[in-house]
């Protein structure tokens, strides 16, 4: 479908017929409409003052037949002259710039030309000359102070904002193509930390102003007034604006759900009388470029022999033999034997048999070595096509878009496909009533894999030895069935076998609304929104006989269900002006209901019929079949209000209150009140500032508010027993194939659990200077979260059940958010802007008595949250050099796993630090090893436009966090039989290399990785050149010829390079899918790829 669309669109058959009409339409629109169609433009018909001076400058005039001289003046909205504004004849390069009084003189061919007047920081404007020869043009501030910002249940002029609200530059954001917003947001907004998933269509991670809760810190996402979860619900190309409410004074209107901040997304709407069609598309390819450094086949043999000798054992390896040196065999498997050579009757291909009965696999050794990471990854194409049509009349506007997005995974056989459609419309009924709808529908099909887990394909790539090839001699998968090769799963096989599994969903997210102007200033709005998602997935477990623990068992599993989240909002909004006093009052109610229902079942025993035509439950063996269903419901009811008051546009005051009742809490503690107050002072509007012309805008802001967090399980208040065949049933009668039903405690509820409350004090200022060329936004905040909801690890002695979240303790986040922007031009043709945003926060657990461990690995949990420290700091033993001699072992404090009776064995092992100096290393000697929280993050953006070219550079710097690199547990130690790192072979302790990274090679050393320690902890700082985009906008005349008003091509590269001390493939690891108290542990994650792509954007 996509292909057809593209081709038809680029080469329309009826092109020649339609061209004049399209051109005419374009011309009509062009005369009316300023280049930035998204913002409101006013042509100010002010009376024309006489120019006081007439310093005229003729910059360029190529037209020999110039007939008309136009004089004019360019002013800002306050009537002040704008010096240096560009006045250009549209569609040509003829133009001039205004003088210090904002005046200009320009010769134009005739009165039919359109002047394009632009000035940095202001909205460009087009003016038809007609027969007027003396023109005054008033430019409105662009994208800045006049910009309308979407805030909770309404809008505000940016100039009037008193809270901390960040606006995402959607255009810049879209230069990083991705299926999910979270990936695109990284480094774009001060105070927002985010990271995408590298699984196709996977969920990313967005956190606003750090984490303050032990539970979920996920921000509330609102799309066109519909509360939803996650940012991957929307097609990024449909987004008109993204505003992020960061502090409590702006987010408190969302009460109990605002503590994580609020992301308000508004999608594109049509503009009356501006009909247009836009196509955006790109195609690119991605590739993983940084892999772990693993040993090859010969090196592994060497390492294994060294390890056995290190353990005092004569080397004897199933594959590499028991000679003086390791010998790489010709065959690693024939039947059940390994380490075989050509000529051995066992490897006769005639013996090969892939059937269940008489299974006999023959696998050659990969003598050079399989690079499993390269085998499982692929060069992955991504393409995106979006077609938008919008427009309308004075009675109604519409915007419709079709989108197609397809992304191949970085791992073979994985992909993400999304067809989406958006239809937004609004109609007027008389003068007072407007109604409209928004609708987003998508059909998604996703094939990802596990990630960042020891069973994931990527992680199995370091568990598979290099000697194992991907395929056996007959082209079936080879694997760890070969003796001595461990129990890793061939990751290519895992991915291949899952290729026909389906994970589909259909999502409808939309709203219906009506607005009525009851009387002057009073607006009633009713909005009903729904986010409905129907998911379906099926998976087949295929035989995996090549696996060490493999078999011919087959299971088919099918699951389906729906989620439905309805939001019904009614508001009254009253705006009133009394002279210098501006009021805006808002009152509203909201009802939210969430429902989720799932069913599923599975059967086994499909072998030998494993192909898709047998994938129905009925074909499986009914013995041992399973089925289930589940239902979850949640509800929220709220009333809220807001007052905005402004005196002379200088003194701003804002107060909100919300009262929420949630089904997640017991009746006695069900309701919470969330107030906020904030104030602003626009100093730049004061008379005394009139003298300081270099300052265009200066506003001080201060706010305080309380927001809540209710992101806990809906059943938190309830205690109940379950009746679960696996956990509470027992075969009391000794029947062997049936059980007697019983009950066991499933959950202990807490009737007293209530909201977490976060109070934030926010101080900030917005400054614009030098004709708005320099801008700065600065916020400093202190965020205190009390009554933290946490599911603390309970003593095992209490039994096994789901523990409730309880309110304990409080935390503090102090931080600053800062944005600096500088825009200028080197000449009339070279415009550039540079901006940097800066995010820093410091997290601390304040209240006494908070102390718990999280983040399980193969060792005990490695993260500790303790009063006085940040949340989830890495905790463990400190390695303190090696035992270099027997004497050192004897003299050292006792430590786990070191046997002083056999000191020779301990030589070359790590010495653990006796931190408390009490003469033995025990659990009390553990120390904090690092923090998963970056000290700061900063994004740099640089745009430059020269003639028709534009260039965007974007870089991101993350500094000061640590990563617990748990992949080393597998690659640098004996943990499991598998492949090993080069470091283990070349930089382990020997008497000659006492300054090594790793302890002595010793096949029986199960100790060196048996406790969490400092070797696993590494710096997670990195600097990444994320985006370079070069665009070319086709000259108007040329694009007009094909009927387009705008035509732009671009090429770009992502993730050009990364500078980092981190030894793993990618330090961009914030989201590890283990919650916010499980941050920063690398279990082996598919890294961010290098990507190159080209795109096209055309508007008709």
């Amino acid at each position: 479908m996509n292909k057809l669309l593209t081709v038809d669109f680029l080469f329309p058959k009826s092109f020649s017929v339609k061209k004049p009409r399209v051109f005419l339409a374009f011309w009509f629109i062009g005369t009316l409409y300023a280049s930035d169609g998204n913002s409101r433009t006013e042509i100010n018909p002010k009376s024309i003052p006489k120019p006081s001076t007439t310093t005229t400058m003729k910059l360029k005039s190529y037209d020999a037949f110039a007939a008309v001289q136009v004089n004019g003046q360019v002013l800002d909205e306050d009537g002040l002259a704008l010096a240096g504004a560009t006045v250009q004849i549209k569609g040509t390069t003829i133009g001039t710039i205004t003088d210090v009084n904002g005046q200009f003189t320009l010769e134009v061919p005739d009165g039919n030309v359109v002047l394009l007047v632009s000035y940095v920081g202001y909205q460009a404007q087009e003016v038809s000359v007609g027969n007027v020869t003396n023109i005054v043009i008033t430019l409105a501030l662009s994208n800045e102070l006049q910009e309308i910002i979407v805030v909770g249940y309404g809008t505000q002029k940016k100039a009037d904002l008193t809270g901390s609200v960040a606006t995402v530059d959607v255009k810049q954001m879209l230069t990083r193509p991705a299926a999910d917003l979270s990936n695109m947001l990284q480094g774009r907004v001060a105070g927002v930390v985010s990271s995408g998933s590298n699984q196709p269509g996977g969920n990313g991670y967005v956190r606003i102003r750090g984490i303050s809760s032990f539970g979920s810190n996920e921000p509330l996402v609102i799309i066109d007034g519909v509360q939803t979860s996650g940012t991957n619900t929307v097609n990024p190309n449909d987004i008109e604006s993204i505003n992020i409410l960061k502090d409590a004074s702006s987010a408190a209107i969302y009460g109990a759900r605002g503590a994580g901040g609020v992301i308000i997304i508004t999608t594109k709407k049509g503009v009356a009388n501006k009909n247009r069609i836009t196509y955006d598309g790109y195609y690119g390819v991605s590739k993983v470029v940084r892999y772990p450094d693993m040993v090859n086949t010969a090196e592994l043999g060497e390492l294994l022999f060294k390890q056995q000798r290190g353990a005092g054992i004569t080397p004897n390896q199933p594959q590499y033999g028991k000679g003086a040196t390791p010998v790489i065999p010709d065959y690693i498997l024939a039947g059940s034997s390994g380490g075989l050579f050509e000529g051995n009757p066992a490897v006769d291909p005639a013996k090969y048999n892939y059937d269940q009965t008489g299974f006999y696999q023959i696998v050659k050794a990969n003598k050079a070595g399989t690079d499993w990471f390269k085998e499982l990854t692929q060069v992955a194409p991504t393409q995106s096509h979006n077609l938008t049509a919008s427009g309308g009349t004075d009675r109604g506007v519409y915007s419709i878009s079709l989108g197609y997005y397809n992304e191949a995974g970085l791992q073979k056989y994985t992909f993400y496909d999304r067809y989406s459609v958006r239809a937004n419309s609004e109609y007027k009924l008389g003068k007072r009533i407007r109604f409209g709808q928004t609708l987003f529908g998508s059909l998604r099909n996703r094939k990802g894999s596990d990630d960042n887990a020891e069973g994931a394909p990527w992680s199995n790539a370091y568990r598979m030895q290099a000697i194992v090839p991907v395929y056996d001699i007959m082209g079936n998968f080879a694997g760890s069935k070969a003796p001595g090769t461990g129990n890793g799963s061939n990751p290519v096989a895992t991915l291949f076998r899952a290729k026909d599994n389906k994970d589909k969903d259909v999502r409808l997210l939309g709203s219906l609304y009506a607005e009525v102007d009851l009387f002057r200033g009073l607006l009633f709005r009713s909005n009903f929104g729904m986010d409905y998602n129907n998911n379906f997935n099926k998976s087949f477990r295929a035989p995996n006989p090549e696996h060490s623990e493999g078999n011919f068992q087959t299971t088919y599993n099918i699951q389906s269900g729906f989620q439905q989240r309805s939001t019904f909002t009614n508001t009254l909004n009253y705006t009133k002006n009394f002279g210098n006093h501006d009021f805006n009052l808002l009152a509203g109610t909201e009802i939210l209901e969430y429902k989720r229902e799932q069913i599923g079942g599975d059967r086994s025993g499909y072998y030998p019929f494993t192909d898709q035509s047998f994938w129905v439950l009925d074909r499986g063996n009914p013995v041992g079949q399973n089925n289930f269903s589940s239902l979850t419901e949640e509800a929220l009811f709220s009333v809220f209000g807001r007052i905005d008051y402004s005196f002379k546009g200088k003194y701003l005051l804002n107060a909100t209150i919300r009262r929420d009742g949630s089904s997640k809490f017991a009746p006695a503690v069900r309701y919470g009140n969330f107030p906020s107050i904030s104030a602003g002072w626009r100093i730049s509007q004061e008379e005394f500032m009139r003298g300081f012309r270099i300052i265009n805008n200066l506003k001080l802001r201060a706010g305080y508010g309380i927001v809540g967090n209710d992101q806990i399980d809906g059943n938190n208040q309830y205690s109940f027993y379950r009746s679960d065949p696996g956990r509470s049933f027992y075969d009391l009668g000794g029947a062997n194939t049936s059980t007697i039903a019983g009950y066991d405690l499933d959950r202990k509820g807490n009737l007293n659990s209530k909201w977490e409350e976060t109070s934030t004090i926010n101080l900030g200022f917005d400054l614009a200077m030098y004709n708005n060329q320099f801008e700065m936004n600065f916020d400093i905040y202190s965020k205190k979260t009390s009554d933290l909801l946490v599911q603390i690890p309970r003593p095992g002695a209490e039994g096994d059940f789901t523990a409730p979240f309880v309110n304990i303790g409080n935390t503090q986040n102090k931080g600053i958010d800062m944005v600096l922007t500088y825009r200028s031009k080197a000449s009339s043709k070279i415009l550039y802007s540079a901006s940097a945003n800066f995010t820093a926060y410091k997290n601390e657990v304040l209240s006494q008595g908070v102390d718990f461990f999280t983040n399980s690995t193969r060792n005990s949990p490695v993260s500790r949250t303790l009063t006085g420290n940040a949340i989830g700091m890495f905790y463990g033993y400190v390695t303190d050099g090696f035992f270099n001699t027997v004497e050192e072992v004897a003299a050292a404090p006792a430590q786990p796993g070191i046997n002083k009776n056999t000191p020779q064995q301990a030589v070359g092992r790590w010495r653990l630090k006796d931190a408390n100096g009490n003469g033995s290393v025990t659990a009390t000697d553990r120390e904090f090893l690092g923090s998963p929280h970056p000290k700061f993050q900063t994004g740099f953006n640089f745009d430059i436009a020269y003639k028709n070219f534009d260039l965007n550079l974007f870089a991101f710097w993350n500094y000061g966090n640590q990563i617990y690199n748990n992949t080393k547990w597998w690659t640098d130690f004996n943990g499991f039989t598998g492949n090993r790192s080069k470091k283990m072979l070349y930089d382990s302790w020997t008497p000659e290399n006492k300054n090594a990274s790793l302890p002595k090679l010793d096949a029986n050393d199960n100790i060196s990785n048996s406790v969490p320690h400092s070797y696993f902890v590494e710096s997670g700082s990195y600097f990444r050149a994320k985006t370079v985009q070069l665009g070319y906008t086709v000259h108007n005349g040329l694009s007009n010829r094909i009927g387009a008003s705008n035509l732009r091509f671009y090429i770009q590269a992502q993730n050009l390079f990364t500078i980092t001390p981190y030894s793993g493939p990618d330090p961009d690891l914030l989201d590890v899918g283990r919650g916010d108290i499980g941050l920063g542990v690398d279990h082996g994650r598919v890294p961010n790829p290098f990507q190159i792509l080209g795109g096209l954007s055309v508007t008709f």
């Binding site: 011919f552 239902l631 109940f720 027993y721 059980t739 002695a797 209490e798 039994g799 008595g849 005990s860």
Partner: protein
């Protein structure tokens, strides 16, 4: 005026949601679950008791994978067998069980935490029954005693299961509300009280054979006496049990005619199963996703994956050479009590399955071939054990396979779980009657009644000597040179009597997870195990450098538990065992 009406009606409309929202709009109760109130009925409380029994077949923690759940069960192969001279971890190099087998156990070892939580989950389930039963209306006094008696017996069992591993424990009962409890004592008296209650109050028989009855409570109590060296009390109780004890089905306790019937799904729990004192009842294909199958032993099947092999996974829990040697018998048909390693049972170490091999021909105790899988001997109905091709890494952990936990080929697909043939319905026999007889023999020997001890031991050997119960070749001939006889010489000496009783215990209960705890109980663990290591490491690379130290008689308290039980002043509630 007209407009005014419109405004009013719109204001009213906007308030409708407020009016509509009743308090119950925010009541969203979970579905498909049971409140405690709802279970305060006769059938409800019986169901909670079934839940307390459900712990016997293991639980799933952590990642929910059956492969990691082997210690969350009543199988003691990890803590009681691979730690002893009976067996090794097996399989291949590495993993958290390797640290355990080498006595290099860090408190961070996840197996410890899994076992701790498993035992206490069992205790918690029992506590629920004991706490709720008195609140159930309409129960007779007898019914109450019955319910509480079963729960208390099970509680004693769960505590015992943790005690042998961790020693001192925090005591949690049905009244506990604050769970920050120090582990300041071994809970012998608490266990005794519970088991005595069960012994005094439980009926002898039940319709369901899986329940604990008067006699199984009594046996547990006697076992705890023996562990405390209260031999006189143990003897008194064991005498009654041996004279009058019955299975739940009312069958008088007796040894089964054939040794191997203990490990065969077909005979376990049958109407003639007189040897079962307490089994962990396993079941499969019962809608329980395999969670009710033999989780504890699911790694302990020959390595491979072929349909011609049982289970097809993992190859753990491999018998040691030392253990196999112990089954050699001398000219009198008796074991070499002092010198079982003087000569070795032949094995196929280093020999490909495709190469020729003939098994050991010397005299052997027939129980060997029901306990150990070795090359050339029929492996149940799977045909002769082929040797190396069923072993994961022979150079690492030797040539032998476990056998008692293995299911028959005939059971495949019916008594093995559909989604995982590693899980079968072959019960773990937590206590069987031969254990009772050997405990009695031990108590008698300790008390000086050597001849009584000999009588008990001979009773065990007599059953083993039943030729009908030998492993046989397809042609009906014995699979090896089985020679086993009773002790005919009078026992007069305590040292010898104890040695013989203990040796018999090793042979009879081998690979069943008792050995390590027996050695510790006898106070000879360090001596026996270091001797064993010195011998075995000449055969196997995995034990090089390992040694048993005094503190290894107990395992460390899981670090995770110590960390999870910090008091508000930051100090740990739980104390680590000495030496860790």
């Amino acid at each position: 005026m007209k407009n005014f009406k419109i405004y009013i009606s719109l204001l009213v409309i906007s308030l409708i949601p407020v009016a509509c929202v009743q308090d119950d709009f925010l009541d969203r109760k979970p579905v498909g679950v049971f409140s405690e109130e709802a279970l305060k009925t006769k059938s409800g409380i019986n169901g909670i008791l079934v839940g307390a029994y459900a712990g016997l077949n293991g639980s799933m923690y952590g990642n929910g994978s059956s492969a990691g759940a082997d210690v969350n069960t009543f199988s003691n192969w990890v803590f009681g067998s691979l730690t002893s001279d009976d067996a090794q971890k097996g399989a291949d190099v590495g993993g958290s069980r390797s640290n355990i087998e080498r006595y290099e156990i860090a408190a961070d070892n996840t197996k410890l935490d899994d076992r701790w939580r498993f035992c206490y989950d069992g205790v918690a389930r029992c506590n629920d029954v004991i706490r709720i039963t008195p609140e159930v209306k309409g129960l007779t006094e007898l019914e109450i005693k019955n319910l509480i008696g079963q729960a208390r017996t099970l509680r004693g069992l769960y505590y015992f299961h943790a005690t042998v591993i961790f020693g001192r424990l925090p005591y949690v009962d049905e009244t506990t509300t604050n769970f920050l409890i120090p582990n300041d004592r071994v809970l012998w008296s608490e266990m005794e009280t519970d088991l005595k209650y069960g012994y005094d109050n439980l009926p002898e028989t039940f319709p369901e054979l899986g329940r604990v009855n008067k006699w199984s409570a009594g046996v547990m109590l006697a076992k705890i006496y023996v562990h405390q060296k209260k031999y006189a009390q143990a003897k008194a109780l064991l005498d009654v049990i041996i004279a009058s004890g019955k299975t739940t089905r009312g069958v008088k306790y007796a040894l089964l005619a054939q040794y191997h019937d203990n490990f065969k799904i077909a005979t376990q729990g049958s109407s003639t199963d007189s040897e079962s004192v307490l089994d962990a009842q396993y079941s499969v294909n019962d809608n329980g996703r395999g969670f009710n199958g033999g989780l504890g032993e699911n790694l302990n099947l020959p390595h491979g994956g072929l349909p011609t092999q049982p289970g097809g996974c993992c190859g753990y829990h491999q018998p040691s050479q030392d253990f196999v040697n112990a089954f050699q018998t001398n000219a009198d048909g008796l074991p070499y009590l002092d010198s079982h390693n003087a000569q070795e049972v032949k094995n196929d170490q280093g020999i490909e399955s495709s190469a020729a091999y003939s098994p050991h021909t010397g005299p052997l105790d027939p129980r060997l071939d029901w306990t150990v899988g070795r090359r050339g001997i029929p492996y149940l109905d799977w045909g002769p054990h082929p040797g190396k091709s069923w072993i994961r890494d022979q150079a690492y952990a030797g040539p032998f396979s476990p056998k008692k936990n293995v299911y028959y080929k005939a059971n495949e697909g019916v008594l093995t779980e559909g989604t995982s043939r590693q899980l079968s319905a072959n019960n773990t026999r937590i206590i069987r009657f031969s254990d009772v007889i050997l405990l009695a023999a031990e108590a008698e020997a300790e008390l000086g009644n050597f001849e009584k001890a000999r009588e008990y031991v001979n009773q065990i050997r007599r059953r083993a000597a039943n030729p009908a119960g030998f492993v046989k070749n397809p042609d009906g001939s014995a699979a090896a040179n089985y020679i086993i006889k009773e002790y005919t010489t009078t026992w007069t000496d305590k040292a010898f009597s104890l040695k013989a009783v203990r040796f018999e215990r090793r042979l009879e209960l081998g690979m069943e997870g008792h050995r390590f705890f027996d050695l510790v109980r006898w106070g000879i663990a360090k001596e026996v195990l270091n001797t064993y290591l010195a011998y075995e490491r000449t055969k196997r690379s995995n034990l090089n450098g390992a040694s048993f130290k005094d503190h290894n008689i107990l395992f460390p308290v899981p670090q995770r538990q110590i960390d999870a039980t910090k008091k508000s002043d930051g100090t740990a509630t739980l104390t680590q065992n000495p030496g860790y």
